[in-house]
Protein backbone atom coordinates (compact mmCIF):
# COMPACT_ATOMS: atom_id res chain seq x y z
CA UNK A 1 0.00 0.00 0.00
CA UNK A 2 1.34 3.39 -0.93
CA UNK A 3 -0.32 6.65 0.17
CA UNK A 4 -3.14 6.35 2.72
CA UNK A 5 -6.01 4.94 0.72
CA UNK A 6 -9.09 7.03 0.25
CA UNK A 7 -12.12 5.95 2.29
CA UNK A 8 -14.98 4.86 0.04
CA UNK A 9 -17.57 3.93 2.63
CA UNK A 10 -17.98 4.98 6.25
CA UNK A 11 -20.73 3.75 8.51
CA UNK A 12 -21.25 5.58 11.77
CA UNK A 13 -23.63 4.29 14.43
CA UNK A 14 -26.07 2.55 12.08
CA UNK A 15 -29.23 1.45 13.90
CA UNK A 16 -32.20 -0.41 12.51
CA UNK A 17 -35.21 -1.90 14.29
CA UNK A 18 -38.01 -4.08 13.00
CA UNK A 19 -40.80 -3.19 15.39
CA UNK A 20 -39.50 -3.96 18.88
CA UNK A 21 -36.46 -5.86 17.68
CA UNK A 22 -33.34 -3.86 17.03
CA UNK A 23 -31.29 -5.78 14.43
CA UNK A 24 -28.44 -3.29 14.08
CA UNK A 25 -27.15 -1.80 17.34
CA UNK A 26 -24.99 1.01 16.08
CA UNK A 27 -22.56 -0.28 13.47
CA UNK A 28 -19.29 1.53 12.70
CA UNK A 29 -17.31 0.43 9.66
CA UNK A 30 -14.87 1.98 7.19
CA UNK A 31 -13.86 0.64 3.82
CA UNK A 32 -10.89 2.07 1.93
CA UNK A 33 -10.63 2.21 -1.85
CA UNK A 34 -9.62 -1.17 -3.37
CA UNK A 35 -10.27 -2.88 -0.06
CA UNK A 36 -12.17 -6.16 0.12
CA UNK A 37 -14.09 -6.58 3.36
CA UNK A 38 -15.83 -9.82 4.27
CA UNK A 39 -18.83 -9.61 6.56
CA UNK A 40 -19.36 -12.88 8.38
CA UNK A 41 -21.70 -13.97 11.13
CA UNK A 42 -24.57 -16.31 11.91
CA UNK A 43 -27.93 -16.05 10.18
CA UNK A 44 -29.92 -13.14 11.50
CA UNK A 45 -26.84 -11.26 12.63
CA UNK A 46 -27.80 -8.32 10.40
CA UNK A 47 -25.42 -8.81 7.46
CA UNK A 48 -28.05 -8.45 4.75
CA UNK A 49 -29.79 -5.59 6.53
CA UNK A 50 -26.49 -3.75 6.74
CA UNK A 51 -25.77 -4.22 3.02
CA UNK A 52 -29.25 -3.03 2.12
CA UNK A 53 -28.82 -0.01 4.37
CA UNK A 54 -25.68 0.92 2.43
CA UNK A 55 -27.61 0.56 -0.84
CA UNK A 56 -30.42 2.71 0.64
CA UNK A 57 -32.94 -0.05 0.05
CA UNK A 58 -33.39 -0.42 3.79
CA UNK A 59 -34.25 2.65 5.85
CA UNK A 60 -32.11 3.18 8.94
CA UNK A 61 -33.34 4.49 12.27
CA UNK A 62 -30.16 6.28 13.20
CA UNK A 63 -26.60 6.75 12.10
CA UNK A 64 -24.83 8.05 9.04
CA UNK A 65 -23.75 6.37 5.80
CA UNK A 66 -20.95 8.24 4.03
CA UNK A 67 -20.02 7.43 0.44
CA UNK A 68 -16.71 9.14 -0.32
CA UNK A 69 -17.48 11.57 2.47
CA UNK A 70 -20.97 12.43 1.24
CA UNK A 71 -23.83 11.72 3.66
CA UNK A 72 -26.08 9.50 1.54
CA UNK A 73 -28.41 8.72 4.45
CA UNK A 74 -29.69 12.28 4.29
CA UNK A 75 -33.32 12.29 3.08
CA UNK A 76 -32.46 15.16 0.72
CA UNK A 77 -30.12 13.07 -1.43
CA UNK A 78 -31.39 11.57 -4.65
CA UNK A 79 -31.40 7.85 -3.83
CA UNK A 80 -31.40 6.79 -7.47
CA UNK A 81 -28.18 8.69 -8.12
CA UNK A 82 -26.57 7.12 -5.05
CA UNK A 83 -27.66 3.61 -5.98
CA UNK A 84 -26.26 4.13 -9.48
CA UNK A 85 -22.84 4.48 -7.82
CA UNK A 86 -23.13 1.22 -5.86
CA UNK A 87 -23.42 -2.27 -7.32
CA UNK A 88 -25.42 -4.95 -5.51
CA UNK A 89 -25.50 -8.67 -6.23
CA UNK A 90 -28.20 -10.81 -4.64
CA UNK A 91 -28.25 -14.33 -3.28
CA UNK A 92 -30.88 -15.39 -5.82
CA UNK A 93 -29.33 -13.48 -8.78
CA UNK A 94 -32.58 -11.55 -9.49
CA UNK A 95 -31.88 -11.38 -13.21
CA UNK A 96 -34.78 -9.97 -15.22
CA UNK A 97 -36.42 -13.03 -16.80
CA UNK A 98 -37.97 -11.02 -19.64
CA UNK A 99 -34.66 -9.59 -20.86
CA UNK A 100 -31.83 -11.31 -22.72
CA UNK A 101 -28.52 -11.82 -20.92
CA UNK A 102 -26.98 -8.89 -22.79
CA UNK A 103 -29.95 -6.63 -22.09
CA UNK A 104 -29.70 -7.52 -18.41
CA UNK A 105 -26.10 -6.40 -18.39
CA UNK A 106 -26.63 -3.23 -20.42
CA UNK A 107 -29.96 -2.04 -19.00
CA UNK A 108 -28.55 0.38 -16.43
CA UNK A 109 -25.88 1.70 -18.80
CA UNK A 110 -28.52 2.59 -21.34
CA UNK A 111 -31.38 3.72 -19.13
CA UNK A 112 -29.61 5.26 -16.14
CA UNK A 113 -26.25 6.33 -17.52
CA UNK A 114 -27.48 7.33 -20.97
CA UNK A 115 -25.06 5.24 -23.02
CA UNK A 116 -26.04 4.58 -26.61
CA UNK A 117 -27.13 1.01 -27.24
CA UNK A 118 -24.16 0.24 -29.51
CA UNK A 119 -21.72 1.54 -26.93
CA UNK A 120 -23.41 -0.25 -24.04
CA UNK A 121 -23.56 -3.51 -25.96
CA UNK A 122 -19.93 -3.32 -26.97
CA UNK A 123 -18.96 -3.03 -23.29
CA UNK A 124 -21.59 -5.62 -22.29
CA UNK A 125 -20.21 -8.15 -24.77
CA UNK A 126 -16.71 -7.48 -23.50
CA UNK A 127 -17.86 -8.25 -19.99
CA UNK A 128 -19.71 -11.39 -21.07
CA UNK A 129 -16.68 -12.47 -23.05
CA UNK A 130 -14.49 -12.05 -19.97
CA UNK A 131 -16.60 -14.62 -18.15
CA UNK A 132 -16.87 -16.88 -21.21
CA UNK A 133 -20.58 -16.28 -21.74
CA UNK A 134 -20.54 -14.15 -24.88
CA UNK A 135 -22.27 -16.99 -26.73
CA UNK A 136 -25.25 -16.63 -24.41
CA UNK A 137 -25.72 -12.90 -25.01
CA UNK A 138 -29.05 -13.31 -26.76
CA UNK A 139 -30.27 -16.17 -24.54
CA UNK A 140 -32.65 -15.59 -21.69
CA UNK A 141 -31.48 -16.08 -18.08
CA UNK A 142 -33.60 -19.21 -17.53
CA UNK A 143 -31.37 -21.07 -20.04
CA UNK A 144 -28.30 -20.56 -17.84
CA UNK A 145 -27.05 -22.56 -14.89
CA UNK A 146 -27.11 -20.96 -11.44
CA UNK A 147 -23.40 -20.24 -11.55
CA UNK A 148 -23.70 -18.67 -14.99
CA UNK A 149 -26.69 -16.59 -13.89
CA UNK A 150 -24.83 -15.34 -10.84
CA UNK A 151 -21.80 -14.40 -12.92
CA UNK A 152 -24.08 -12.49 -15.30
CA UNK A 153 -25.64 -10.78 -12.28
CA UNK A 154 -22.16 -9.71 -11.12
CA UNK A 155 -21.43 -8.35 -14.61
CA UNK A 156 -24.73 -6.49 -14.52
CA UNK A 157 -23.67 -4.92 -11.23
CA UNK A 158 -20.22 -3.82 -12.42
CA UNK A 159 -21.18 -2.83 -15.97
CA UNK A 160 -21.60 0.76 -14.83
CA UNK A 161 -18.26 0.87 -12.94
CA UNK A 162 -19.70 1.36 -9.46
CA UNK A 163 -17.47 2.82 -6.76
CA UNK A 164 -18.46 0.04 -4.37
CA UNK A 165 -19.65 -3.50 -4.99
CA UNK A 166 -21.91 -5.16 -2.43
CA UNK A 167 -22.22 -8.95 -2.53
CA UNK A 168 -25.00 -10.46 -0.44
CA UNK A 169 -24.18 -14.14 0.09
CA UNK A 170 -23.85 -14.58 -3.65
CA UNK A 171 -22.87 -18.26 -3.50
CA UNK A 172 -25.41 -19.44 -0.92
CA UNK A 173 -27.96 -20.55 -3.51
CA UNK A 174 -25.45 -22.34 -5.73
CA UNK A 175 -24.45 -25.97 -6.15
CA UNK A 176 -21.03 -26.59 -4.58
CA UNK A 177 -19.53 -27.34 -7.99
CA UNK A 178 -20.78 -23.99 -9.30
CA UNK A 179 -19.52 -21.96 -6.33
CA UNK A 180 -15.95 -22.08 -7.63
CA UNK A 181 -16.61 -20.23 -10.87
CA UNK A 182 -18.37 -17.39 -9.04
CA UNK A 183 -15.65 -17.11 -6.39
CA UNK A 184 -13.00 -17.08 -9.12
CA UNK A 185 -14.77 -14.15 -10.74
CA UNK A 186 -14.96 -12.24 -7.47
CA UNK A 187 -11.29 -12.96 -6.85
CA UNK A 188 -10.36 -11.49 -10.22
CA UNK A 189 -12.48 -8.41 -9.51
CA UNK A 190 -10.72 -8.01 -6.17
CA UNK A 191 -7.33 -8.32 -7.84
CA UNK A 192 -8.38 -5.69 -10.38
CA UNK A 193 -8.92 -3.26 -7.49
CA UNK A 194 -12.70 -3.30 -7.06
CA UNK A 195 -13.83 -2.11 -3.65
CA UNK A 196 -15.98 -4.89 -2.25
CA UNK A 197 -18.13 -5.39 0.83
CA UNK A 198 -19.42 -8.95 0.88
CA UNK A 199 -21.55 -10.92 3.27
CA UNK A 200 -20.43 -14.52 2.98
CA UNK A 201 -20.47 -17.96 4.51
CA UNK A 202 -17.37 -19.05 2.58
CA UNK A 203 -14.72 -18.83 5.31
CA UNK A 204 -11.87 -20.18 3.20
CA UNK A 205 -12.67 -17.70 0.49
CA UNK A 206 -12.91 -14.83 2.98
CA UNK A 207 -9.51 -15.75 4.38
CA UNK A 208 -7.91 -15.87 0.93
CA UNK A 209 -9.50 -12.91 -0.79
CA UNK A 210 -10.60 -10.44 1.85
CA UNK A 211 -8.21 -7.84 3.21
CA UNK A 212 -10.27 -7.53 6.33
CA UNK A 213 -12.90 -9.67 8.03
CA UNK A 214 -15.71 -8.35 10.22
CA UNK A 215 -17.74 -10.63 12.47
CA UNK A 216 -21.26 -9.42 13.06
CA UNK A 217 -23.37 -11.00 15.77
CA UNK A 218 -26.79 -9.92 17.01
CA UNK A 219 -26.42 -6.58 15.26
CA UNK A 220 -23.00 -5.65 16.64
CA UNK A 221 -19.45 -5.81 15.30
CA UNK A 222 -17.82 -8.44 17.52
CA UNK A 223 -14.39 -8.32 15.96
CA UNK A 224 -12.74 -6.81 12.93
CA UNK A 225 -9.24 -7.39 11.70
CA UNK A 226 -6.91 -8.35 8.85
CA UNK A 227 -8.02 -11.65 7.39
CA UNK A 228 -4.91 -13.62 8.28
CA UNK A 229 -4.85 -12.50 11.88
CA UNK A 230 -8.64 -12.78 12.25
CA UNK A 231 -8.68 -16.47 11.40
CA UNK A 232 -5.30 -17.48 12.87
CA UNK A 233 -5.52 -15.55 16.08
CA UNK A 234 -8.97 -14.19 16.94
CA UNK A 235 -9.09 -12.01 20.03
CA UNK A 236 -12.71 -12.43 21.06
CA UNK A 237 -14.12 -15.54 22.65
CA UNK A 238 -17.27 -15.09 20.53
CA UNK A 239 -15.20 -15.14 17.34
CA UNK A 240 -13.45 -18.35 18.37
CA UNK A 241 -16.81 -19.96 19.11
CA UNK A 242 -18.22 -18.92 15.74
CA UNK A 243 -15.17 -20.03 13.77
CA UNK A 244 -15.08 -23.40 15.48
CA UNK A 245 -18.71 -23.96 14.56
CA UNK A 246 -18.31 -23.09 10.87
CA UNK A 247 -14.99 -24.94 10.51
CA UNK A 248 -15.51 -28.13 8.58
Amino acid sequence: MSAPAETVLSLRGIRRSFGEVEVLHGIDLDIAAHEVVALIGPSGSGKSTLLRAVNLTEPIDDGVVLLRGEDISDPRVNVDRVRARIGLVFQHYNLFPHLSVLDNVTLASRVVHGLRRAEAERRGLELLDSIGLADFATSFPDRLSGGQQQRVAIMRAIATNPELLLLDEVTSALDPELVGEVLALIRSLAEAGTTILMATHEMTFAREVADRVVLLDAGRVVESGPAAQFFANPREERTRAFLSRVAR
Binding site: D61, D62, S73, D74, P75, R220
Partner: protein
Protein backbone atom coordinates in the same frame (compact mmCIF):
# COMPACT_ATOMS: atom_id res chain seq x y z
CA UNK B 1 -3.26 -3.97 16.84
CA UNK B 2 -4.40 -0.62 15.56
CA UNK B 3 -6.05 -1.61 12.25
CA UNK B 4 -8.89 -3.31 14.03
CA UNK B 5 -10.83 -1.52 16.65
CA UNK B 6 -13.28 -3.97 18.13
CA UNK B 7 -16.54 -2.36 19.03
CA UNK B 8 -17.14 -5.45 21.06
CA UNK B 9 -19.72 -5.08 23.73
CA UNK B 10 -20.76 -7.77 26.16
CA UNK B 11 -23.29 -10.11 24.54
CA UNK B 12 -25.64 -9.49 27.41
CA UNK B 13 -25.98 -5.85 26.49
CA UNK B 14 -26.59 -6.79 22.88
CA UNK B 15 -29.77 -8.63 23.67
CA UNK B 16 -31.23 -6.02 25.99
CA UNK B 17 -33.72 -3.71 24.32
CA UNK B 18 -31.59 -0.70 25.11
CA UNK B 19 -33.49 2.40 24.10
CA UNK B 20 -30.80 4.75 22.83
CA UNK B 21 -31.75 8.37 22.31
CA UNK B 22 -31.63 9.23 18.60
CA UNK B 23 -28.61 11.23 17.54
CA UNK B 24 -28.87 14.90 16.61
CA UNK B 25 -28.45 14.10 12.94
CA UNK B 26 -31.27 11.56 13.04
CA UNK B 27 -33.52 14.07 14.82
CA UNK B 28 -32.75 16.64 12.14
CA UNK B 29 -33.58 14.08 9.40
CA UNK B 30 -36.87 13.27 11.11
CA UNK B 31 -37.71 16.95 11.36
CA UNK B 32 -36.95 17.36 7.66
CA UNK B 33 -39.14 14.37 6.68
CA UNK B 34 -41.94 15.69 8.89
CA UNK B 35 -41.76 19.13 7.26
CA UNK B 36 -41.86 17.49 3.80
CA UNK B 37 -44.90 15.50 4.86
CA UNK B 38 -46.70 18.59 6.12
CA UNK B 39 -45.84 20.43 2.94
CA UNK B 40 -47.27 17.71 0.69
CA UNK B 41 -50.50 17.60 2.71
CA UNK B 42 -50.83 21.36 2.35
CA UNK B 43 -50.16 21.23 -1.39
CA UNK B 44 -52.69 18.45 -1.95
CA UNK B 45 -55.31 20.35 0.07
CA UNK B 46 -54.72 23.52 -1.88
CA UNK B 47 -54.84 21.92 -5.30
CA UNK B 48 -58.07 20.11 -4.36
CA UNK B 49 -59.75 23.35 -3.31
CA UNK B 50 -58.63 25.16 -6.46
CA UNK B 51 -59.96 22.36 -8.66
CA UNK B 52 -63.28 22.22 -6.79
CA UNK B 53 -63.80 25.98 -7.14
CA UNK B 54 -62.95 25.88 -10.85
CA UNK B 55 -65.31 23.00 -11.58
CA UNK B 56 -68.08 24.44 -9.41
CA UNK B 57 -67.97 27.86 -11.02
CA UNK B 58 -68.09 26.37 -14.53
CA UNK B 59 -71.15 24.22 -13.82
CA UNK B 60 -73.05 26.58 -11.53
CA UNK B 61 -72.27 29.56 -13.76
CA UNK B 62 -73.59 27.92 -16.93
CA UNK B 63 -76.65 29.58 -18.53
CA UNK B 64 -78.83 26.47 -18.33
CA UNK B 65 -77.99 25.50 -14.72
CA UNK B 66 -81.40 26.56 -13.31
CA UNK B 67 -83.21 24.32 -15.76
CA UNK B 68 -80.85 21.37 -15.30
CA UNK B 69 -81.10 21.65 -11.54
CA UNK B 70 -84.91 21.45 -11.69
CA UNK B 71 -84.88 18.46 -14.04
CA UNK B 72 -82.03 16.39 -12.63
CA UNK B 73 -81.44 17.48 -9.04
CA UNK B 74 -84.89 18.09 -7.62
CA UNK B 75 -84.75 17.15 -3.90
CA UNK B 76 -88.52 16.62 -3.59
CA UNK B 77 -88.67 14.27 -6.58
CA UNK B 78 -85.62 12.47 -5.28
CA UNK B 79 -87.20 11.89 -1.89
CA UNK B 80 -90.51 10.73 -3.39
CA UNK B 81 -88.88 8.24 -5.76
CA UNK B 82 -86.43 6.83 -3.24
CA UNK B 83 -88.62 4.06 -1.71
CA UNK B 84 -89.50 2.48 -5.06
CA UNK B 85 -85.95 2.71 -6.34
CA UNK B 86 -84.62 1.14 -3.13
CA UNK B 87 -87.11 -1.67 -3.58
CA UNK B 88 -85.79 -2.16 -7.08
CA UNK B 89 -82.21 -2.08 -5.84
CA UNK B 90 -82.99 -4.95 -3.48
CA UNK B 91 -83.75 -7.06 -6.56
CA UNK B 92 -80.41 -6.01 -8.08
CA UNK B 93 -78.61 -7.09 -4.92
CA UNK B 94 -80.33 -10.48 -4.94
CA UNK B 95 -79.42 -11.06 -8.58
CA UNK B 96 -75.88 -9.90 -7.84
CA UNK B 97 -75.41 -12.36 -4.98
CA UNK B 98 -76.64 -15.36 -6.98
CA UNK B 99 -74.78 -14.35 -10.13
CA UNK B 100 -71.50 -13.82 -8.25
CA UNK B 101 -71.61 -17.28 -6.72
CA UNK B 102 -72.47 -18.88 -10.05
CA UNK B 103 -69.79 -16.90 -11.87
CA UNK B 104 -67.11 -17.92 -9.37
CA UNK B 105 -68.04 -21.59 -9.74
CA UNK B 106 -68.41 -21.66 -13.53
CA UNK B 107 -65.44 -19.38 -14.16
CA UNK B 108 -63.16 -21.63 -12.12
CA UNK B 109 -64.61 -24.75 -13.74
CA UNK B 110 -64.04 -23.48 -17.27
CA UNK B 111 -60.55 -22.24 -16.47
CA UNK B 112 -59.70 -25.65 -15.03
CA UNK B 113 -61.14 -27.46 -18.04
CA UNK B 114 -58.87 -25.42 -20.29
CA UNK B 115 -55.80 -26.61 -18.40
CA UNK B 116 -56.57 -30.32 -18.79
CA UNK B 117 -53.78 -32.17 -20.57
CA UNK B 118 -54.02 -35.19 -22.84
CA UNK B 119 -55.79 -36.00 -26.11
CA UNK B 120 -58.95 -37.35 -24.43
CA UNK B 121 -59.79 -33.90 -23.19
CA UNK B 122 -59.36 -32.22 -26.56
CA UNK B 123 -63.11 -31.65 -27.17
CA UNK B 124 -63.56 -30.33 -23.63
CA UNK B 125 -60.69 -27.89 -24.08
CA UNK B 126 -62.08 -26.73 -27.41
CA UNK B 127 -65.57 -26.26 -25.99
CA UNK B 128 -64.25 -24.29 -23.03
CA UNK B 129 -62.10 -22.13 -25.31
CA UNK B 130 -65.02 -21.60 -27.69
CA UNK B 131 -67.27 -20.64 -24.82
CA UNK B 132 -64.93 -17.93 -23.52
CA UNK B 133 -64.33 -16.62 -27.04
CA UNK B 134 -68.06 -16.43 -27.78
CA UNK B 135 -69.30 -14.88 -24.56
CA UNK B 136 -66.50 -12.39 -24.19
CA UNK B 137 -67.24 -11.12 -27.67
CA UNK B 138 -71.02 -11.02 -27.35
CA UNK B 139 -72.47 -7.78 -25.90
CA UNK B 140 -74.19 -8.46 -22.59
CA UNK B 141 -77.38 -6.77 -23.74
CA UNK B 142 -77.72 -9.20 -26.65
CA UNK B 143 -77.13 -12.16 -24.33
CA UNK B 144 -79.86 -10.75 -22.11
CA UNK B 145 -82.34 -10.56 -25.00
CA UNK B 146 -81.46 -14.01 -26.34
CA UNK B 147 -81.62 -15.70 -22.93
CA UNK B 148 -84.51 -13.65 -21.54
CA UNK B 149 -86.82 -13.99 -24.51
CA UNK B 150 -85.40 -17.00 -26.37
CA UNK B 151 -85.00 -19.70 -23.74
CA UNK B 152 -88.49 -19.21 -22.21
CA UNK B 153 -89.78 -19.76 -25.76
CA UNK B 154 -88.51 -23.33 -25.63
CA UNK B 155 -91.08 -23.93 -22.89
CA UNK B 156 -88.89 -26.31 -20.90
CA UNK B 157 -90.01 -24.65 -17.72
CA UNK B 158 -93.03 -22.85 -16.46
CA UNK B 159 -92.92 -19.05 -16.52
CA UNK B 160 -89.90 -17.80 -14.60
CA UNK B 161 -89.40 -14.19 -13.43
CA UNK B 162 -87.31 -11.91 -15.64
CA UNK B 163 -84.70 -11.58 -12.88
CA UNK B 164 -84.07 -15.35 -13.14
CA UNK B 165 -83.18 -15.12 -16.82
CA UNK B 166 -81.18 -11.98 -16.11
CA UNK B 167 -79.10 -13.90 -13.59
CA UNK B 168 -78.45 -16.65 -16.14
CA UNK B 169 -77.40 -14.14 -18.81
CA UNK B 170 -75.07 -12.30 -16.42
CA UNK B 171 -73.55 -15.60 -15.32
CA UNK B 172 -72.95 -16.70 -18.93
CA UNK B 173 -71.17 -13.49 -19.86
CA UNK B 174 -69.17 -12.91 -16.71
CA UNK B 175 -68.12 -16.56 -16.32
CA UNK B 176 -66.30 -16.17 -19.63
CA UNK B 177 -64.37 -13.13 -18.37
CA UNK B 178 -63.64 -14.61 -14.98
CA UNK B 179 -62.52 -17.92 -16.53
CA UNK B 180 -59.91 -16.01 -18.51
CA UNK B 181 -58.75 -14.18 -15.39
CA UNK B 182 -58.41 -17.49 -13.53
CA UNK B 183 -56.56 -19.01 -16.47
CA UNK B 184 -54.12 -16.11 -16.51
CA UNK B 185 -53.54 -16.72 -12.81
CA UNK B 186 -53.00 -20.44 -13.31
CA UNK B 187 -50.48 -19.79 -16.04
CA UNK B 188 -48.71 -17.20 -13.90
CA UNK B 189 -47.86 -19.83 -11.30
CA UNK B 190 -44.33 -20.92 -12.07
CA UNK B 191 -44.10 -24.41 -13.63
CA UNK B 192 -41.63 -25.39 -10.91
CA UNK B 193 -44.52 -25.28 -8.45
CA UNK B 194 -46.47 -27.86 -10.45
CA UNK B 195 -43.30 -29.89 -10.81
CA UNK B 196 -42.72 -29.83 -7.07
CA UNK B 197 -46.31 -30.92 -6.44
CA UNK B 198 -46.16 -33.75 -8.98
CA UNK B 199 -42.81 -34.86 -7.56
CA UNK B 200 -44.58 -35.45 -4.26
CA UNK B 201 -46.99 -37.80 -6.03
CA UNK B 202 -49.97 -35.44 -6.23
CA UNK B 203 -52.17 -36.04 -9.27
CA UNK B 204 -52.87 -33.31 -11.81
CA UNK B 205 -56.15 -32.52 -10.06
CA UNK B 206 -54.58 -32.56 -6.63
CA UNK B 207 -51.72 -30.30 -7.64
CA UNK B 208 -54.20 -27.91 -9.22
CA UNK B 209 -56.39 -27.81 -6.14
CA UNK B 210 -53.70 -27.82 -3.45
CA UNK B 211 -50.85 -25.92 -5.03
CA UNK B 212 -51.63 -24.12 -8.27
CA UNK B 213 -55.13 -22.72 -7.72
CA UNK B 214 -54.46 -21.25 -4.24
CA UNK B 215 -51.51 -19.33 -5.67
CA UNK B 216 -53.37 -18.43 -8.85
CA UNK B 217 -56.38 -17.04 -7.00
CA UNK B 218 -54.11 -14.91 -4.84
CA UNK B 219 -52.38 -13.52 -7.90
CA UNK B 220 -55.61 -12.53 -9.64
CA UNK B 221 -57.70 -11.36 -6.69
CA UNK B 222 -57.45 -7.69 -7.71
CA UNK B 223 -58.57 -8.52 -11.27
CA UNK B 224 -61.44 -10.64 -9.95
CA UNK B 225 -62.60 -7.85 -7.66
CA UNK B 226 -62.50 -5.52 -10.63
CA UNK B 227 -64.82 -7.85 -12.57
CA UNK B 228 -67.10 -8.00 -9.55
CA UNK B 229 -67.39 -4.22 -9.47
CA UNK B 230 -68.16 -4.20 -13.20
CA UNK B 231 -70.86 -6.82 -12.71
CA UNK B 232 -72.33 -4.86 -9.82
CA UNK B 233 -73.39 -2.11 -12.18
CA UNK B 234 -74.21 -4.34 -15.14
CA UNK B 235 -76.85 -5.92 -12.92
CA UNK B 236 -78.85 -2.80 -13.77
CA UNK B 237 -79.19 -4.09 -17.34
CA UNK B 238 -81.69 -6.78 -16.32
CA UNK B 239 -84.27 -3.99 -16.53
CA UNK B 240 -84.36 -4.54 -20.31
CA UNK B 241 -86.13 -7.85 -19.63
CA UNK B 242 -88.85 -6.05 -17.70
CA UNK B 243 -87.60 -6.88 -14.21
CA UNK B 244 -88.50 -4.00 -11.91
CA UNK B 245 -85.04 -3.30 -10.57
CA UNK B 246 -83.59 0.06 -9.55
CA UNK B 247 -83.16 1.25 -13.13
CA UNK B 248 -86.68 0.19 -14.16
CA UNK B 249 -88.16 1.77 -11.02
CA UNK B 250 -86.37 5.03 -11.83
CA UNK B 251 -87.70 4.85 -15.38
CA UNK B 252 -91.26 4.43 -14.09
CA UNK B 253 -90.87 7.34 -11.68
CA UNK B 254 -89.40 9.51 -14.43
CA UNK B 255 -92.31 8.75 -16.72
CA UNK B 256 -94.76 9.79 -14.01
CA UNK B 257 -93.13 13.12 -13.08
CA UNK B 258 -91.39 14.07 -16.35
CA UNK B 259 -88.33 14.67 -14.20
CA UNK B 260 -84.99 12.87 -14.56
CA UNK B 261 -84.00 13.07 -10.88
CA UNK B 262 -84.90 9.39 -10.20
CA UNK B 263 -82.16 8.31 -12.67
CA UNK B 264 -79.64 10.38 -10.72
CA UNK B 265 -80.89 8.77 -7.49
CA UNK B 266 -80.54 5.27 -8.96
CA UNK B 267 -77.08 6.12 -10.28
CA UNK B 268 -75.93 7.35 -6.88
CA UNK B 269 -77.27 4.21 -5.23
CA UNK B 270 -75.26 2.03 -7.63
CA UNK B 271 -72.14 4.04 -6.83
CA UNK B 272 -72.79 3.58 -3.10
CA UNK B 273 -73.30 -0.14 -3.70
CA UNK B 274 -69.98 -0.55 -5.48
CA UNK B 275 -68.00 1.72 -3.20
CA UNK B 276 -67.31 -0.78 -0.39
CA UNK B 277 -66.12 -3.33 -2.94
CA UNK B 278 -63.80 -0.83 -4.59
CA UNK B 279 -62.31 0.12 -1.22
CA UNK B 280 -62.01 -3.56 -0.31
CA UNK B 281 -60.20 -4.19 -3.60
CA UNK B 282 -57.70 -1.44 -2.84
CA UNK B 283 -57.17 -2.80 0.64
CA UNK B 284 -56.68 -6.40 -0.47
CA UNK B 285 -54.27 -5.32 -3.20
CA UNK B 286 -52.22 -3.17 -0.82
CA UNK B 287 -52.10 -5.93 1.76
CA UNK B 288 -50.92 -8.50 -0.77
CA UNK B 289 -48.26 -6.15 -2.02
CA UNK B 290 -47.03 -5.57 1.50
CA UNK B 291 -46.91 -9.29 2.24
CA UNK B 292 -45.35 -10.60 -0.94
CA UNK B 293 -42.91 -7.89 -1.85
CA UNK B 294 -40.09 -7.32 0.58
CA UNK B 295 -37.75 -4.41 0.25
CA UNK B 296 -40.83 -2.25 -0.05
CA UNK B 297 -39.09 1.09 -0.15
CA UNK B 298 -37.89 0.62 -3.73
Amino acid sequence: MTPSEPTSASPAAATAGDAVAPSAIELERRAYRESRRRRSILVSLLSTIVLAIALGSVVLGSPGWEQVQQTFFNPQVALDSLPRILEGLWLNIQVLVFASILVAVFGLLIATLRTLRGPVWFPVRVLAAGYTDLFRGLPLIIVLYLVGFGIPGLEFTERMPAAFWGTIALTLTYSAYVAEVFRAGIEAVHPSQRLAARSLGLSHGQSMRRVVLPQAVRKVTPALMNDFVAMQKDVGLISVLGAVDAVRAAQIETAQTFNFTPYVVAGLLFVLLSWPTIRLTDWVTARMRAREQIGGIV
